[in-house]
């Protein structure tokens, strides 16, 4: 009993930690794609933000300044994507992919030039990272059966960015469904002409959406390098941006289902970490590489077969040009 509870609470806690950047990036993608801009550059934005956060934190010793730098870097990348795809009607996939490739190359080069540590930033000390926060009563409640370990072991003890991500889901849902901005956002991804003829600027709306996407990706990137890890390493996003995009599709471009999809992917990841080197009854030890592929295999399976009818915003990916 005690063991099972401990296992559950460790797994749940790990799932939350892995899910945080996925949720933030997926919500970023939600803003972008609901506005009609395909955002395959989530990966690059997150990676750029991770580097900016780690580099700034390493120099200044402040995790918060690092976060600010991450927000700025990621928003800048988002605006470049907007400039190419909104102002100049470029192909959104090409523009996003170009950002990914550029960032993947640029960050290690800059890291090399500034820190001389073969493409990494220096290890960050405790001060320069977001540390765990013990929620009120975590200590005293820990002894209460069942609820205690869950509260103190799963819910309490994360860094602030995890809670921020958790808070982001209801906030984004509120913005998308209950505000005028949300109405316009949903409309512009479906029929930009309707928005234009209703007297609302399509470009402005899409830029706004991309800025929001940039900010959310910035938090995700800062989380990776200054909370979850202690520094930037080459390609540290490892496809999380694409995974977030998959979760967004799986979640049908809606906030809560997208959150659930992220949790599912994160759980698969937590399982694969857990299974590494552990003998499975009847099979023995499964090669690590095979286990590590698990979340990605799951993604492919889910997207290929179990999503059901997932209809993207109708105008997604189509540059808006006025009809003659």
């Amino acid at each position: 009993m005690e063991d099972t509870l401990l296992l559950v609470s460790t797994m749940a806690s790990a799932t939350l930690r892995v899910a945080t950047p996925l949720v933030l990036a997926a919500l970023a993608g939600l803003f972008a794609e609901r506005s009609g801009i395909v955002d395959i550059g989530l990966e690059g934005k997150m990676l750029g933000a991770a580097f900016a956060a780690a580099a700034t934190a390493a120099v200044t010793g402040s995790a918060w300044l690092g976060l600010c730098a991450a927000l700025a870097a990621s928003t800048l990348l988002s605006l470049i994507h907007g400039f190419a795809s909104i102002t100049h009607h470029g192909n959104q996939v090409v523009s996003g992919m170009a950002l990914n490739i550029m960032v993947a190359g640029l960050c290690p080069v800059l890291a090399n030039a500034w820190f001389r540590q073969s493409g990494q930033t220096p290890m960050l000390g405790q001060q320069a990272r977001f540390g765990p926060i013990a929620l009120p009563f975590a200590e005293s409640l820990a002894k209460v059966p069942v609820i205690g370990p869950l509260y103190s072991g799963v819910i309490s003890g994360h860094n602030i960015l995890v809670y921020l991500a958790a808070l982001a889901v209801p906030v984004v849902a509120f913005v998308v469904y209950r505000t005028s901005f949300g109405l316009r956002l949903r409309a512009v991804g479906e029929n930009p002409e309707a928005v234009d003829t209703a007297g609302v600027s399509v470009s402005r709306l899409r830029y706004q959406a991309l800025i929001l996407a940039g900010l959310l990706c910035g938090v995700a990137g800062a989380y990776l390098s200054t909370a979850h890890n202690a520094g930037f390493i080459r390609d540290m996003t490892a496809g999380k941006g694409y995974l977030a995009l998959a979760a967004l599709i799986f979640g049908k471009w809606k906030p809560v289902p997208t959150l659930l999809a992220c949790l599912l992917f994160a759980f698969a990841d937590a399982v694969q970490i857990r299974l590494q080197g552990v003998p499975v009854p009847g099979i023995g030890i499964i090669p690590v590489q095979l286990i590590q592929a698990l979340p990605y295999v799951l993604t492919v399976l889910l997207l290929a077969g179990f999503v059901g009818k997932s209809v993207a915003p109708k105008a997604s990916g189509i540059p808006y040009l006025k009809e003659r």
């Binding site: 005028s180 316009r184 409309a187 007297g199 003659r324």
Partner: protein
């Protein structure tokens, strides 16, 4: 300056009234195309003002300028006598100009209420404006007879109601001047009548309506004044009561037009198409054609009249080999071509001597992104004449296409242009050229002149009659009663998947046909 066109009482607004909206010396270029040339339009407050012109005459461009969707290159807009700086739709909306576009500007998966709110939410949170909009919609619905369920999702509504939502959107934004671009294209005659009634109510309340249409009868019915445009310029501005359909048609096209046209009596020969007890279902398996029998002889034009959606589309598709029939018999020149036989596709039918101008040229008649010369041989691309060895003979295709473009007056006559860069009328002429030039014995024609300007209508009608006179069989399906009456030697009326009667165009009246189309009366 060219000689003064037929402008009567042009300058002063009638009876000391005011101009609601004025466009003065508007000029607009789209790349190399001069879409509006020094256009001046004055619309009196509290009137219904019609604008007519062929496709590409610049009507929609002018309206889009008034609405701020496309800013003008030069010229001035005045609203209520004051110079207005309209550069985007929000400027026009703020000045009380609303527009119902030809293609509806609705978010299909939104509710009616959400569509009305879009752009006029009245606060950062939706809840604030929602209650007000709901009450206002109810009031507008009551006052104007425009009731709509505010919570209905737009994509579930029929087009007539969707148009109502568009009008409500404009009224909700406080439109004093309402621009309607080809509003009746999607409506049944009854719905169009209702719309006109509503426009008169609006006018009587002092609002101003600008109506763009290519249907002259609508202009004569409902407008107070009419402006005629041709090739980007205004050629006439007339009081409706002082003009006639014939005069308007001539002004639009720039030469005398024979509305109706005349033709020699038919000389029917052998039966070319024989249809017996044909049943056709739609995708959902719902019966759409329910036991239809008729035949078409060489040297005659048979017209099928009916309100859209009574099985004509499915009938035509089954005859064209695009849709399998559920049961029944189709014989072309005596040989049975039951479309249930697998493999008997449109291609084989073409080889047997069938030509088909489909109802929807965008979806079936053309490939928009292909060049004209490629479109000109589609469906016949396997024929030897277009090949040199293994390869398509591009030079020859271009040659043929160029000849046909001359013969069918397709403008601009450049075979290398993409199909989508032609106007609707010219696209249709290209499709008609392709089908006729491959010398069919039977030509199926669906909506021969839908979205086509007067000049092209006249031309296509002439060609169809010429084809008949050459002894070919022609089957025309059209929802335009005028067209059916003009072209046909025999008229079949379809209602609810059945042919409810056959009449002769000489003796039939529009009223009688209308009643038959509504399933009320049988053939006399």
């Amino acid at each position: 300056m060219t000689a003064a066109p037929a402008l009567d009482s042009a300058i002063a607004p009638p009876q000391g009234g005011r101009w609601a909206i004025e466009a003065v010396d508007i000029d607009k270029w789209f790349g190399p195309v001069h879409a509006n040339r020094d256009v001046t339009l004055r619309v009196a407050k509290g009137s219904i003002h019609g604008i007519v012109g062929e496709n590409g005459a610049g009507k929609s461009t002018l309206m889009n300028i008034l609405y701020g969707y496309h800013p003008a290159d030069r010229g001035e807009i005045r609203i209520d006598g004051k110079t207005a700086d309209i550069r985007r739709p929000s400027d026009a909306l703020a000045l009380g100009v609303g527009m119902v576009h030809q293609h509806f500007m609705l978010v299909e998966n939104f509710s009616v209420l959400e569509n009305v709110l879009l752009g006029a939410e009245g606060g950062a949170l939706l809840a604030e404006g929602r209650g007000k909009a709901r009450a206002e919609l109810e009031r507008l619905g009551r006052d104007y007879g425009l009731e709509v369920d505010p919570d209905a999702v737009v994509e579930d509504l029929p087009v007539g109601i969707q148009q109502r939502v568009e009008i409500l959107k404009a009224l909700y934004r406080g439109a004093e001047t309402l621009i309607l671009d080809e509003p009746t294209g999607v409506l049944t005659p009854q719905e169009a009548d209702k719309l006109f009634h509503f426009l008169r109510v609006l006018r009587d309340q002092g609002k101003t309506v600008i109506l763009i249409t290519h249907k002259l009868r609508e202009i004569m019915d409902v407008t107070d004044r009419v402006t005629v445009m041709r090739r980007g310029a205004v050629v006439a501005d007339l009081l409706t009561q002082n003009t006639s359909k014939e005069e308007l048609a001539e002004l639009m096209v720039g030469r005398k037009v024979r509305l109706g046209g005349d033709k020699a009596p038919a000389n029917p020969g052998a039966v070319v198409l024989e249809v017996q007890d044909l049943h056709v279902n739609d995708e959902q398996g719902k019966p759409r054609v329910r036991g239809v029998s008729f035949n078409v002889r060489g040297g005659e034009i048979v017209g099928i009249a009916g309100v859209s959606g009574n099985g004509q589309t499915e009938l035509l598709e089954a005859l064209g080999g695009i849709r399998p029939a559920a049961s029944g018999r189709i014989a072309l020149k005596g040989s049975e071509v039951s479309t249930r036989r697998p493999g008997l596709t449109a291609r084989i039918l073409r080889r047997l001597g069938l030509g088909h101008v489909p109802e929807d040229r965008h979806r079936m008649g053309l490939v928009a992104g292909f060049a004209a010369y490629e479109n000109a041989i589609l469906g016949h691309q396997d024929e030897k004449q277009y090949h040199r060895g293994w390869l398509l003979d591009r030079a020859r295709m271009v040659d043929y296409c160029g000849e046909w473009m001359d013969a069918y007056d397709v403008r601009p006559g450049n075979p290398l242009l993409e199909a989508l860069s032609f106007s609707g009328g010219n696209q249709q002429k290209l499709v008609v050229a392709r089908e006729m030039e491959h010398t069919p014995d039977l030509l199926l024609v669906g909506q021969p002149t839908r979205g086509v300007d007067i000049g092209a209508i006249e031309f296509i009608h002439k060609r169809l009659i010429a084809m008949r006179d050459a002894g070919k069989a022609v089957l025309v399906v059209s929802v335009e009663l005028d067209e059916i009456m003009t072209l046909s030697d025999r008229i079949l009326v379809m209602f609810d998947g059945r042919i409810v009667g056959e009449v002769s165009p000489e003796t039939a009246t529009e009223r009688q046909l209308g009643l038959m189309m509504a399933g009320i009366a049988e053939a006399a």
